[in-house]
């Protein structure tokens, strides 16, 4: 095997190794997708910022931080900043973080009878 071919092979192998984590959807690796649940309640604190919007809602004695989509995606789905502002009753369906306590990654949210997909 020539050196060039050897290097091409090594580069291909490296590319596949590097590609594996990328194939998993970004941001879902450290969330427990096997146990989705819903948190419903009034928004205590709302942040409509990059890289992800998030809200905090009290749930079973803890204040949960619920990670939403990037603001641009939220807006394109109609979930503008006012939809998740403080006091709004939000039902967030998603997964608990396996890395951080009381953090949820929302799959979708329902506000005033309207459902917004987060991915």
């Amino acid at each position: 095997m020539t050196a060039t071919r050897r290097i091409a092979l090594a580069a291909t192998a490296a590319a596949f190794l590097g590609a594996a984590p990328v194939l998993a959807h970004h941001g879902w690796g450290s969330y427990d997708a096997a146990k989705p649940f819903t948190i419903t309640g009034p928004v205590k604190h709302s942040v409509f910022q990059y890289p992800h919007a998030h809200v905090t809602i009290d749930h079973q004695g803890k204040t949960w931080e619920i990670t939403l989509a990037p603001p641009s995606r939220m807006e394109s789905r109609g979930a503008v900043a006012d939809v998740i502002k403080e006091g709004k009753v939000v039902a967030a369906f998603g997964y608990a973080s396996t890395a951080r306590d009381a953090e949820m990654r929302a799959e979708r949210i329902t506000v005033d009878g309207k459902t917004y997909e987060m991915r």
Partner: protein
């Protein structure tokens, strides 16, 4: 120490990165495009050190691609700093981010070691099996920068 990162996050830059609908996505795209150019330049230099493209003399080959790598590295530093500023106080605690920074320092040290020690010693070599020092340098570089890219991608998962 942590106050510096909190100050960066609370600076005008950090605030703009979080509130602008253009800045964060732009820096994100620049970081990917910069990575393509950087990794392309790095891997072609490393391939030369490992024995590929042997008709091409080592020194001009490396110095040409080094310029591309340095320009791309500048894009990575600027776009990376922008992304970092949005969440600096949290990201600085991220173990994968710390690993990435450490590996970048090691990668740059490898470049310096190549320029100062390895390259002056292999000036006479133009073809045939590359000297061990050259092959070690190229293999190290490829391994380090590949791991930097993987670590960078994984910051969002930890």
């Amino acid at each position: 120490m942590g106050e510096i990162f909190l100050a960066l996050e609370q600076s005008g830059l950090g605030a703009a990165m979080r509130s602008s609908s253009v800045l964060y996505p732009t820096a994100n795209v620049l970081h990917i495009v910069g990575l393509s150019f950087f990794f392309g330049a790095i891997s072609i230099m490393d391939a030369r050190l490992l024995g590929a493209f042997q008709p091409m003399p080592l020194k001009p080959f490396v110095s040409r691609w080094r310029r591309v790598a340095m320009a791309a590295f500048a894009i990575q530093i600027v776009s990376g700093f922008m992304l970092f500023s949005a969440e600096a106080s949290a990201i600085v605690e991220n173990p994968v981010f710390r690993l990435k920074v450490l590996l970048i320092v090691i990668g740059l040290a490898n470049v310096v070691a190549f320029e100062v020690v390895t390259k002056p010693g292999i000036t006479g070599w133009t073809d045939g099996r590359p000297p061990t020092a050259a092959r070690v340098s190229g293999a190290l570089s490829l391994a380090i920068w590949t791991t930097v890219a993987i670590a960078g991608r994984l910051i969002a998962y930890f």
